[in-house]
């Protein structure tokens, strides 16, 4: 009961973050999926036992920890790719802005000097 409640609170918190526009809805999907998978895995002994067997680990908790790390690594990678793309766009915009501003300044100064 407590486990289910915790998962539910986390889901609600996440939905609140999306509603407040603190997390972009498209970017939130992998996180929501991860929360769903992990919440389901924690609450389902059948899945835990299956993962324990598949991963050949001694205890179900190790399988869940492994799954958590795997999902977090995936999520961080997704976010890093997104941040890197945005960083490149930001730099391109900055360079375009500088190009136009400096061209204008240079043309004006050259005209005055002549």
């Amino acid at each position: 009961m407590v486990r289910t409640l915790i998962v539910l609170v986390m889901v609600l918190l996440f939905l609140w973050l999306i509603r407040r526009r603190l997390v972009h809805i498209d970017l939130s999907f992998p996180w929501f999926l991860a929360l769903f998978v992990l919440g389901f895995a924690y609450n389902n002994p059948l899945i835990d036992n299956y993962l324990t067997k598949i991963l050949a680990v001694s205890y179900p908790i190790y399988a869940v920890i492994f799954l958590t790390l795997f999902i977090f690594f995936g999520l961080i990678t997704v976010v890093l790719i997104k941040v890197t793309r945005d960083h490149h766009r930001q730099i391109q915009l900055l360079r375009a802005l500088a190009r136009s501003d400096l061209t204008r300044q240079d043309a004006r100064k050259s005209a005055i000097e002549k």
Partner: protein, 243 residues
């Protein structure tokens, strides 16, 4: 004398990136203007917390303020973009902290004017001075750069004082330069087949501000350089196996 007459017919864009070094960067820009009409200083405030007032920039100098700290590599790209757009003959970079003497710019430009080089590094005769960790790091960069370029890289691959002709600028603008881009830039220039030369320059003490190279950033720089080396080795291996 012949060189100073030759430079008068050319146009030189002098990049002065500054991060919290407003006063000294403005002095550097003024020193560049005193060199002659061929020189156009380009002062870039790289998102300083204490921004440079555009009104205090000397008349005749260009000024651009980055809304955030983008790094010296991005400032270098901005200068390269502008030099290409306005057809400048040469681009020179001087640090905004006043460590690179502006009066040595004509000496660094001389090999370019003679047509002996495409890129000239103003190597610091006193660059070995400082903390021992820094010394070891600089030796490491120099040794790896020498190995990668077959001895063509300058002895000091960390110097930010350089001059390049427009052909080199066009080629180097394709390289992605970000924070502390110097070692990568010199190695890339050698790999591209550009003629790289060196001129010895005495580095003067910093006039204002502090080095942006704190231990964490130094570690990040070390990490970035090694990744660049690994990438280069993988690329070389690929092209070697394709032969």
């Amino acid at each position: 004398m012949a060189e100073s007459a030759a430079i008068a017919e050319k146009s030189v864009l002098v990049l002065i990136p500054a991060f919290n070094e407003g006063r000294s960067a403005i002095d550097v820009a003024a020193s560049v203007l005193r060199l002659g009409v061929a020189y156009r200083p380009l002062l870039i405030d790289d998102g300083s917390s204490d921004p440079i007032d555009p009104k205090s920039v000397p008349h005749g100098a260009l000024f651009f303020r980055c809304p955030f700290n983008a790094g010296i590599g991005v400032a270098t790209h901005i200068a390269f973009d502008h030099a290409i757009a306005r057809d400048y003959d040469f681009v020179v970079r001087l640090d905004g902290d006043g460590q690179h003497p502006a009066e040595r710019v004509p000496d660094v430009l001389a090999p370019l004017l003679r047509g002996d080089a495409d890129l000239v590094a103003g190597i610091r005769t006193n660059h070995g001075a400082g903390q021992s960790v820094r010394k070891v790091a600089k030796l490491y960069y120099a040794a790896i750069a020498t190995l990668l370029t077959g001895g063509k890289a300058p002895a000091d691959v960390n110097t930010g004082f350089f001059a390049a002709n427009l052909a080199a600028v066009r080629r180097l603008s394709a390289v992605e330069l970000e924070r502390f881009p110097e070692p990568q830039m010199y190695v890339s220039a050698c790999r591209m087949g550009l003629r790289v030369a060196s001129v010895e320059v005495e580095q003067t003490p910093r006039e204002s501000g502090a080095s942006t190279l704190n231990p964490l950033r130094a570690l990040a720089m070390f990490y970035r350089f090694n990744l660049f080396v690994i990438e280069w080795l993988l690329e070389s291996g690929r092209s070697w196996s394709a032969r």
